[in-house]
Symmetry: C2
DNA sequence: GTTAGTGTATTAAGGTCTTAGTACAGCAAC
DNA sequence: GTTGCTGTACTAAGACCTTAATACACTAAC
């Protein structure tokens, strides 16, 4: 996985882990890989993974059993709520930026439609997390 | 202006200043307020403003005349290009996040349409720049 | 009991970001 | 010349993030 430079990695991991849960990549109730294993997979320090998982736990997406490991919550309503929340935040972020550029709704929708199948959807640069790539 | 905690302020200023230029709030060829004045307006340190403006200059959006101040570029083609680039990056960011959540184009478009006039478009939290708010 | 695997906590080091304060060079107005 | 305004440069301090390397408590398997 690649990370934005300038934004804390643990915050980006919260996003990634949330995504894995709401997409079912990490199924409800299933066991989450250990901090050392995740750290190895992601190429970061176990401490960084732990900080992200602690935040995930605070948000009610997982629970830790001190000696057996961490498990995704079995509360599917909670997972559904987070999925909707992530979608809303993504949409609102785009709307805020589009409005800031003076776009109208029709323009914005057309732009999304056009670029969805346009080809590359790489983050272009993804610098510093502030949407300031050029 | 409010800033995300965890993401460098100077990067967020690059975005904001770019937005002001491409929207015409800072007209092509016009003078940009001094670093001290901007710093006072934004509630940050003049050094932070200067770092953002230096980046803006690197991107060809402004030029500095060492004793008279900074001026927005008169190259309107460059401004148009940046405006398009900012729109594309915003769209691609949304598309990447929507796809990551398993959404289909029609769903994504409907979501944007629905929330454009939904009411509040506050950044919800905007923590750490990693789109990880819940 | 021993071993291995969990999550968790701690300390230290190095890096970046932000603020603060100061200083300098150059131009314009008086 | 003096004053005031620019951009620019520099140092120092504090805060946060990341990495690294341990260490501990607890459970399960043998």
């Amino acid at each position: 996985m690649e990370f934005d430079t300038g934004a804390p990695i643990w915050g980006q991991l919260v996003t990634e882990f949330s995504r894995r849960i709401v997409t079912g990549e990490w199924a409800a109730g299933s066991r989450i890989p250990g901090v050392r294993e995740l750290a190895s997979e992601l190429g970061v320090n176990p401490n960084t993974v732990q900080r992200a998982l602690a935040e995930l736990e605070r948000r009610g997406l997982c629970r830790s059993e001190r000696t057996a490991g961490r498990f995704v919550t079995s509360d599917e309503e909670r997972i559904d709520a987070i999925r909707a929340e992530l979608a809303h935040v993504a949409a609102d972020d785009f709307i805020r930026r589009a409005r800031g550029l003076g776009m109208r709704p029709a323009q914005a929708l057309h732009l999304i439609e056009e670029r969805w199948t346009h080809g590359d959807h790489t983050p272009a640069d993804g610098a510093r997390g502030g949407h300031d790539d050029v």
